[in-house]
């Protein structure tokens, strides 16, 4: 708070770089922590550190600096992920976690367009993710299509199946639309369980990805060192997540973002000023589901396996929790929130079983006491860095 007086145009870039480095180093230790005590210590340490940082106004400094150099922030974040991954080059599990965080973040960026911007609720996020996995399973096993095209097609199929819901979602609002997506999510899972063609409850196997002869599921040998094959998926997921992030950012900082916000906040006012409500809801719903489908396809190819049980209503709620926890409408909130929600239960085995319960409680507390989430959304700045004047 006390740092507000520092002139933003003259803000230095080092707080930003320091901040990114600290988060990177922290992520590294978290991924490598072996004992439960160490993980618990890291979790408690993070909370204490955050409190201390805001007490001394350092978080405000980092925020000012980040707002001044948005490109540096993006580059820094990518660099941090690459570095953390490079250091863990032979640790399958750490890389799997990191890639999962990136893919879930991509899905949540899509959900953020849906209910963060245009106010279209979607409680079937996991179902659209699953549609992507199943599409990849079917196409990669039974067609010669190039795998990158399959990822794109998986997005398309998810968006198309989502469009079945567009009519009911458009004709209804809020609670009703929520019910429709919940019904769809349950329907999807029930359908897969009883449908033998798609493997029933046992699910399907998915071949690993292969691009131009490069097999993603083979470890990479460089001299004597063997790099984990997960690095392949990590690079691809990082690319997808980063591109999605930039586009979502641009979308928010454009007339599209403005129109979606107005649709969410006041449909009557929106209609009175010519805003085509259906157009923006359809755009948001389709984009979001398409992103979920693409991420689902990559995830499925990485894990080699898809089954109905991975896409329950509870999983959809976890996705929603990530968006709320991070700060609804703020894409920067999603990454740390996804990391917390996904990595902590894997590392702290004793909360694994309780994760649905814990996150549901956490979201309730956030809604009651800090509805804007950990990193609240900022005022729209169409052209940051050089705006205002």
């Amino acid at each position: 708070m006390s740092m507000q007086n520092s002139n933003s145009s003259a803000a230095p870039s080092w707080p930003l770089l320091t901040g990114v480095s600290v988060v990177g180093v922290y992520a590294h230790f978290l991924l490598h922590a072996e004992s439960q005590i160490a993980v618990l210590g890291l979790a408690v340490g993070a909370i204490l550190l955050l409190i201390a940082f805001s007490r001394f106004g350092w978080t405000a400094r980092v925020a000012t600096s980040a707002a001044t150099y948005p490109k540096l922030l993006g580059a820094g974040a990518v660099a941090a992920v690459v570095l953390v991954a490079a250091v863990s080059y032979e640790m399958h599990f750490a890389l799997l976690m990191l890639t999962t965080v990136l893919l879930y973040s991509t899905v949540c960026l899509g959900l953020n367009i849906q209910f963060g911007y245009s106010g279209v609720v979607n409680f079937a996020g996991a179902a659209f993710f699953g549609i992507g996995s199943y599409t990849a399973a079917v196409l990669a096993s039974h067609s010669p299509l190039p795998h990158l095209l399959i990822v794109a097609l998986a997005g398309l199929v998810a968006a198309l199946l989502g469009s079945l819901l567009i009519l009911p979602v458009l004709r209804t609002r809020g609670h009703y639309a929520a019910l429709i997506t919940i019904a769809f999510g349950i329907l999807f899972k029930t359908f897969l369980e009883v449908n033998d063609a798609l493997g029933g409850p046992q699910g399907l196997k998915i071949p690993g990805m292969e691009i131009l002869g490069w097999k993603f599921n083979d470890n990479i040998a460089i001299g004597d060192h063997e790099l984990s094959f997960y690095l392949n998926y990590l690079v691809l997921s990082l690319a997808l997540c980063a591109v999605t992030f930039v586009l979502v950012r641009r979308l928010e900082r454009s007339w599209m973002g403005l129109s979606m916000d107005v649709v969410r906040l006041d449909e009557t006012a929106a209609a009175t000023f010519g805003v085509d409500i259906a157009r923006w809801k359809i755009t948001a719903f389709t984009l979001g589901n398409g992103l979920a489908g693409m991420a689902g396809a990559i995830y499925g190819m990485m894990t080699g396996f898809v089954a109905p049980n991975n896409f329950t209503f509870g999983d959809s709620l976890i996705l929603v929790s990530i968006v709320i926890l991070g700060g609804i409408g703020n894409p920067w909130g999603i990454l740390p929130a996804a990391a917390i929600v996904l990595i902590l239960p894997e590392k702290l085995q004793f909360i694994q079983e309780y994760r649905f319960l814990l996150y549901a409680l956490l979201v309730i507390l956030i809604l009651l006491f800090r509805p804007d989430g950990l990193l609240p959304r900022k005022i729209r700045n169409y052209f940051p860095g050089d705006a205002g004047r």
């Binding site: 019904a183 329907l187 009557t268 319960l357 979201v363």
Partner: protein
Amino acid sequence: MDLGLLGQYLLNGLMLGMIYAMVAVGFTLFFGVLDVIKFSHGDVLMVGTFAGLATYLGLESVGIDSPWLQLLLVVLVSVSAMAVLGALIAKFLILPLKDAPPLNTLLATLMLGSVLRESVRLFYPNGSNPKPFPRLLPTDEWSLGTLTLRVDNLILLAAGVAAIVGVHLLITRTKLGLAIRAVAQDGETARIMGINFEWIVLLTFGLGSGLAALAGVMNGLYYNETNFGIGLLLGVIGFSAAILGGLGNVYGAILGGFIFAGLQTLGSVALPAVLPSVPSAYKDVFAFTAVIVIMAWKPTGLIAEKSSERV
């Protein structure tokens, strides 16, 4: 198809419809007084069923084994515990979020449903597995030609009718009901007229949740089994039924419940008959497709919602 089988389907449909109607009435009452949807309603029902089951096991362990006494206490404990739970939810979750964006209430109650579901799964002994629910009603059978009537089913149907009629009388004939209707019409004005708004809201949530608990116990007695997941399904179906009948309209909710049960029964009977390749396992798929189609067709219900938005 013979008459006996048809009768069985009819009875089964009526029973389902009764349970759905009781859930839907809760949704519609809550929407009436506060314009909110409590998505955790189905899970409150589920907790009510488990509260009843736990009561039964407790009674068994202390040696009270008269079925009628057991039944009375099971219903009493379940209904009153859920009434209290419903009021607590309203007090500490829904009223504090009254001025927040509707999305927040929606999310909060959805998450609360998750909390209830997971709590039962994790903390009820062996809660992740289906549980047998005791038969506390006489199971004598009467045969009418090919149709077999079971006494317990008839009692359950009668109890459901009694509960719904009771709620109806409470709302239309008593002072409390008048206050609930006043708050539903216009909360502000009701407050000015000296009605204790918060108290009425809490009572309404208690009433609806108690009714759901009763439906949950009836559901357990009917199927002789229950599990932690029934709430989600019954909640979604009850909400659909409430919407089908027009939210805020008690008669509509009851009608919606029976229509939905009719559709579902029809689905499970007609689907395999028309398309023999489709197994009856698809009946839930059919039911949820019906939910989506109904919402697309009549988004505000068959009986119009109470009032349009004020501009």
